[in-house]
């Protein structure tokens, strides 16, 4: 009951406070000279957002950066020791290698499958249904997907009834099939995890890429046909170059997802059997080892890795918006 009252209070008082603030601000502006008011007004309006951004984003980033140079409890400066640890410790190095796998295969896989389904779905009448079905996994959380696929990949030794769907199907279809411990065997486990990630986002990629495809004028494709291009030549010389901006936006978004990947790994293997990733390492350092310095250092490395991709992504996005206007 108390919580509900709090909630109601918050949902009324916060907007009220904001309106009060703006009223005060405008009152203050009305006393200024017209020119000055004109220059100051944007700052008054943007200030709440700016303050929230500073409190919840800029300050934590800076304090994380600072604590990445401190020891486990954040008392003493240790210089670059945390970074040195990360780049020498076999566990974190293995995570980085796995993240690299994610980066390449997750990105390529989701963009490629997204592109293929987008192109094929546009060619058939029931394409809309296909896209809807493919998009559905987006509606579940990564954790739920992890749980579902853990069941799918479940392994029982040969001879026992296979409860995991993948092994069950394969052993009933392929003669002499030996059940595989998908999430344990080093040959398959990273691939199996990445596949779940791809399964989650491929619908999203399809929808975005399919919108990009729709933007390409039918007449231009017909012109290419008349010019003598085969389907493949049309795709390679006309469709793909025109779709490239969209592909890049999708790809960079997927790169960021790959670098940040955490929940699927956490739920399905918790990083065991050599499947760990950087984000999970950060979690372990913070909550298991309780070394805030090393955890912060990992966070900073992740930030530095993502930042350039983010910049490219935002620039691309702006360009697209610009060309659409």
């Amino acid at each position: 009951m108390n919580h509900i009252v709090m909630l109601l209070l918050a949902s009324v008082s916060i907007p009220l406070a904001l309106i009060g603030y703006l009223a005060l601000g405008e009152g203050f502006l009305s006393r200024l000279a017209k020119n000055t008011a004109h220059r100051v007004r944007p700052w008054i309006w943007i200030a709440p957002a700016l303050i929230l951004l500073c409190v919840f984003l800029v300050y934590p980033t800076l304090s994380t950066a600072l604590s990445s140079f401190k020891d486990a409890t954040g008392d003493l400066f240790v210089g670059l020791a945390n970074y040195k640890f990360i780049f020498t410790n076999p566990d974190t190095l293995a995570s980085m290698k796995n993240n690299l796998l994610w980066l390449v295969f997750f990105t390529v896989g989701s963009v490629l499958f997204g592109l293929i389904t987008a192109i094929l779905a546009d060619r058939v009448r029931y394409g809309g249904v296909v896209k809807t079905v493919m998009f559905m996994p987006m509606a579940i959380s990564n954790v739920a997907a992890g749980v579902i696929w853990k069941f799918m990949y479940d392994y029982r030794p040969a001879g026992l009834p296979q409860t995991g769907t993948v092994n069950a199907v394969l052993s009933s279809v392929v003669p002499g099939f030996e059940p595989i411990a998908w999430l344990i065997q080093p040959a398959t486990n990273n691939g199996a995890l990445i596949f779940v990630g791809v399964w989650m986002v491929v619908g999203f990629c399809t929808v975005i890429l399919s919108a990009g495809l729709r933007n390409i004028s039918e007449e231009v494709l017909e012109a290419a046909k008349i010019d003598g291009a085969t389907d493949w030549q049309t795709f390679r010389s006309i469709t793909l170059p025109l779709l490239m901006p969209t592909v890049l936006v999708v790809a960079t978004t997927m790169v960021i997802n790959a670098l940040k990947i955490f929940d699927i790994v956490y739920v399905m293997t918790n990083g065991n059997y050599n499947t760990d990733v950087i984000a999970n390492q950060m979690y372990k350092q913070l909550f298991v080892t309780q070394h805030s310095g090393q955890a912060s250092a990992i966070a900073i490395i992740l930030l530095i890795a993502i930042a350039p991709v983010m910049v490219v992504n935002i620039r691309r996005y702006r360009e697209q918006m610009g060309s659409a206007a």
Partner: protein, 372 residues
């Protein structure tokens, strides 16, 4: 590619061609023999099947029934690239990511034409179209007229047997359209290639075509030279579609060989008079073009049994001429008269009809009577 032979025939022959989309028939029994080097125009209101027919010739739409022959080849099942055609689209359809040069060279590159030959052909075509200075630009940096030239250039470099043009000028402003019209005409004379040109603009059709196909609801209404269409329309639709302002149609009854209605009594002559005999006592459509109606006292048309009386409703002075809308017994009729005739709305006037230019159409079938 053309085999280098000058005498390669590039006729296009359509025999009993149909286009069906499910149960709807877009084009019905289309029969046409387009001669080598002819400038053939398909004209008609939107949805009449003209573009669909062009797209069937291009290979962008399947032919539901009938045969299409280009040159000596039956082309029904050939993909566009093997039909030896080039097409100019309404929205230009330039490749946005390629510059003008690459746009024009694309088709030749696909055909593995040697680089120096591509270069020669592209520069030659650019010269003809006066776009040499634009070769390095992207389509979005060009004006509408320039884009249209590039689209034409892309078609020219391929040296196809037949050019197909789908309303290529409809996105240009009026002045540019007139300019490009004569340029395409010049191009046709220079290249001596068969051109099939689709438009909904009858002025474009009349000024450019060697022959014109008038279409409506998927049927060919008439195929003839521009002047024959104007002089001898086969039915009321063609008569109304060709000419601007369009032909006047009045319902009249045939009495003692005369066309009668309230406010008008006109005696037809020649073959028209003869073919109206079976209609004695019945109603028909009388057709007369605005330019063949004069104002009594201000026209060279001899006065006889060819007078209509009515009240002027609207006067539209255009300078060289004035269009007056006259209500003759309740039926509105346009007359194109001298630009400086002084008439005002509300005036009662007498109009003189040029009897040699009179048309009549069956009331039901709307087919032309006589004058064929």
């Amino acid at each position: 590619m053309r085999d280098g032979a000058v005498n390669t025939m590039s006729e296009v022959i359509l025999k009993g061609v149909y286009k069906r989309y499910g149960k709807t028939v877009a084009v019905t029994d289309f029969n046409l023999h387009i001669e080598d080097k002819e400038f053939m125009v398909f004209v008609g209101p939107s949805g009449c099947g003209k573009s669909t027919t062009l797209r069937m010739i291009a290979g962008l739409e399947e032919i539901s029934d009938g045969t299409l022959q280009i040159g000596e080849k039956i082309c029904n099942d050939l993909p566009p690239k093997d039909r030896d055609i080039a097409m100019v689209f309404q929205n230009y359809a330039l490749y946005p990511h390629m510059n003008v040069y690459e746009n024009m060279a694309f088709g030749l590159r696909l055909r593995k034409t040697p680089k120096d030959l591509i270069d020669k052909k592209v520069r030659e075509a650019a010269g003809i179209l006066q776009i040499e200075h634009l070769l390095g630009r992207k389509p979005k940096e060009l004006s509408g007229g320039q884009r249209q030239r590039v689209a034409l250039g892309r078609a020219i470099v391929r040296e196809p047997k037949v050019f197909l043009m789908d309303e290529p000028l409809s996105n240009l402003d009026a002045k540019l359209r007139v300019e490009m019209r004569s340029q395409i005409g010049k191009l046709h004379r220079r290249l001596g290639t068969t051109i099939i040109y689709v438009t909904h603009d009858q002025v474009e059709a009349m000024t450019m075509g060697t022959r014109i196909v008038v279409m409506k609801d998927g049927f060919i209404q008439q195929c003839d030279t521009p002047l024959n269409l104007y002089d001898f329309p086969k039915n009321k639709f063609v008569a109304g579609f060709i000419g601007s302002p369009s032909m006047n149609f009045l319902t009249v009854s045939v009495q003692n060989g005369m066309l009668n209605a309230q406010g008008l009594k006109v005696s037809p002559e020649g073959t028209l008079a003869q073919s109206l005999r079976p209609y004695e006592g019945k109603q028909v459509w009388m057709g007369i073009r605005p330019e063949h109606v004069g104002l009594k006292g201000f026209t060279n048309i001899p006065v006889g049994e060819n007078i209509m009386e009515g009240e002027v409703e609207v006067v539209e002075p255009l300078g060289a001429q004035t269009d007056i809308l006259v209500s003759v017994g309740g039926q509105i009729l346009t007359a194109k008269v001298d630009g400086h005739v002084m008439v005002n709305a509300g005036d009662m006037v007498q109009l003189v009809v040029d009897r040699s230019k009179l048309h009549a159409f069956d009331l039901q079938s709307e087919n032309a009577l006589g004058r064929s």
